[in-house]
Symmetry: C2
Subunit: 77 residues, 2 copies
């Protein structure tokens, strides 16, 4: 069955991996919603949902007007 995850799940999973692997260290700024949407070929709503999951897991922190940053310490503290 593969159980292929939905796009928003895939995106969330993808960034979770990048953060946990250190590719995106604490304080790092994620691409804007529009950027990610363009990269994955989905709408901004879908990206927003994916980021919401990351936010729910305390992996990232979004700052309206600035961007989304990886949680952990810098930029946020």
């Amino acid at each position: 069955m593969s159980t292929a995850p939905a796009p928003y799940r895939h995106i969330a999973n993808d960034f979770t991996d990048k953060i946990k692997s250190g590719e995106l260290p604490p304080g790092a700024k994620l691409p804007s919603t529009r950027e990610i949407a363009d990269i994955y070929g989905v709408s901004m709503v879908t990206v927003s949902r994916a980021v919401s999951l990351l936010h729910d897991r305390d992996l990232v922190i979004g700052h309206p007007g600035r961007g989304v940053f990886v949680a952990g310490e810098p930029e946020d503290g």
Copy 2:
């Protein structure tokens, strides 16, 4: 203070509380998406998002054509 959570957050929080308090025991069926949407006065999309959070937290399990059930053991096995 207050920081009133968004509707979908509020709904998810509400059901999380019901489940954790035992008001909704494992195997219990949640109201249908349409029902919840009607109760809270929001669209089904918003309810679906709230349930997605519950699902992400392994609090519930959705069965297309049947409904959403509280996770834990029964019904889900």
